[in-house]
């Protein structure tokens, strides 16, 4: 633990009044893993925490929710997270996959056309009374989303992000923590999408070991993304969505977790679905890896 002094001042009628406060931070060497889970069991309507609970052998700090555009804020899941001691990671996706309306365009979002919806999201976060981590239009440097590189320029994406950031936080106050989240940079650089530190509360990326090739490791495949992000920000960097391909992968995912910790990553969210769905033994190995991380 490190106790540091926060210094500031308020100027009242032209006279500056200094003020200080102290805060105790976990030492970097003993920083706990920001361990998160996305499990298909948490899908909308998200009223069950059971999917996340499968990983309860380790302290789960984050639980993901994917929310299509104009979808209702998952207040019930947010409450479940708070009760379990985790923080909801709300992934706002600007497309209509649930029949709730037309898919928006990024320029329309930037222009304020959907401010009422964004304000509703922010107000719901504030009403929940707990911090919610929020991302929007993630993996924007990839090709698989309508907000990706084939349809949206980095400048357009940044304009959208900055507007979403400002609008949600205006309504949510200090309870919305906006998470900037590109994909691993093997698909394309992340730097063009950096909106500036003033618009990023937590820098993250989605970085998987997405082949069964054992030579694909943190160092060879993921670390270059981390290095690129570290040129943009000195703050924590979180692997917000990850998994390891293959079967009988206990050893590989354990090594991956160790490498992420050694690489200074703040933590990771396991995407427990499809090719990355873990069996009982693999789940136990992942939890053991997180507990080892937390043990220092």
């Amino acid at each position: 633990m490190t106790t540091i002094t926060v210094s500031g001042s308020a100027t009242v009628g032209g006279t500056a009044y200094p003020a200080t406060a102290q805060v105790s931070l976990q030492a970097a060497s003993s920083a706990q893993c920001l361990f998160g889970i996305w499990d298909d069991g948490s899908a909308w309507p998200s009223t069950s925490y059971a999917g996340v609970q499968k990983f309860s052998a380790a302290p789960v700090k984050s639980a993901t929710q994917y929310l299509a555009w104009l979808g209702p804020f998952p207040a019930a899941f947010n409450t479940l997270c708070a009760a379990a001691g985790s923080t909801m990671y709300l992934n706002l996706e600007p497309w209509n996959t649930w029949g709730g309306g037309a898919s928006p365009t990024i320029p329309d979002i930037a222009a304020g056309k959907y401010d009422s919806y964004l304000t509703t999201i922010g107000q719901a976060i504030k009403a929940g009374g707990v911090t919610v981590n929020v991302t929007w239009a993630h993996e924007m440097n990839g090709t698989w989303y309508p907000w990706g590189i084939e349809s949206v320029t980095p400048a357009q994406w940044i304009a959208g992000w900055q507007h979403v950031y400002t609008t949600i936080k205006a309504a949510a106050g200090s309870l919305a923590s906006m998470v900037w989240c590109p994909n691993n940079n093997d698909v394309g650089p992340v730097t063009p999408y950096w909106p500036g530190q003033a618009y990023v509360d937590l820098a993250a990326f989605d970085g998987y070991l997405n082949t069964t090739n054992a030579s694909q490791t943190f160092a060879s495949f993921v670390e270059p993304t981390v290095a690129e992000i570290r040129k943009l920000t000195s703050g924590p960097v979180w692997n917000a969505e990850t998994g390891v391909q293959g079967t009988n992968r206990e050893a590989r995912l354990t090594q991956f977790a160790q490498d992420m910790k050694s690489g200074g990553i703040a933590g990771f969210t396991w995407f427990n679905e499809g090719d990355y769905l873990l069996d009982t033994s693999e789940t136990a190995a992942l939890c053991a890896a997180v507990n080892a991380w937390n043990a220092g």
């Binding site: 926060v6 500031g8 100027t11 003020a19 105790s24 931070l25 700090k61 200090s174 530190q197 703050g235």
Partner: protein
Amino acid sequence: MAVSVTLSISPSGTVASGTTVTATYTVTGNGGSAGQTITISGSATVGGVKEPATAVITLGAVAPAAVTYAVPTAPGLSFKATAQPNVFTAVAP
């Protein structure tokens, strides 16, 4: 009442990595003052006779002074402004 400024931090206790740290300024003693009417009393003694006299004046209201807040600084923490001018947040490393 003299002006004073305090800075408070939340959450309390040891802050885990990745947690949002909130710094909040509180200013006291900057309430300004309402307008008021006061009576000034005096007297003049003329030929040994004290002659009292009064006058009434009105003091205008004084608005609270303008307040601006500096972005707090701390090693390892990068604070940013929020929608509330006296509130700043940072993510613990």
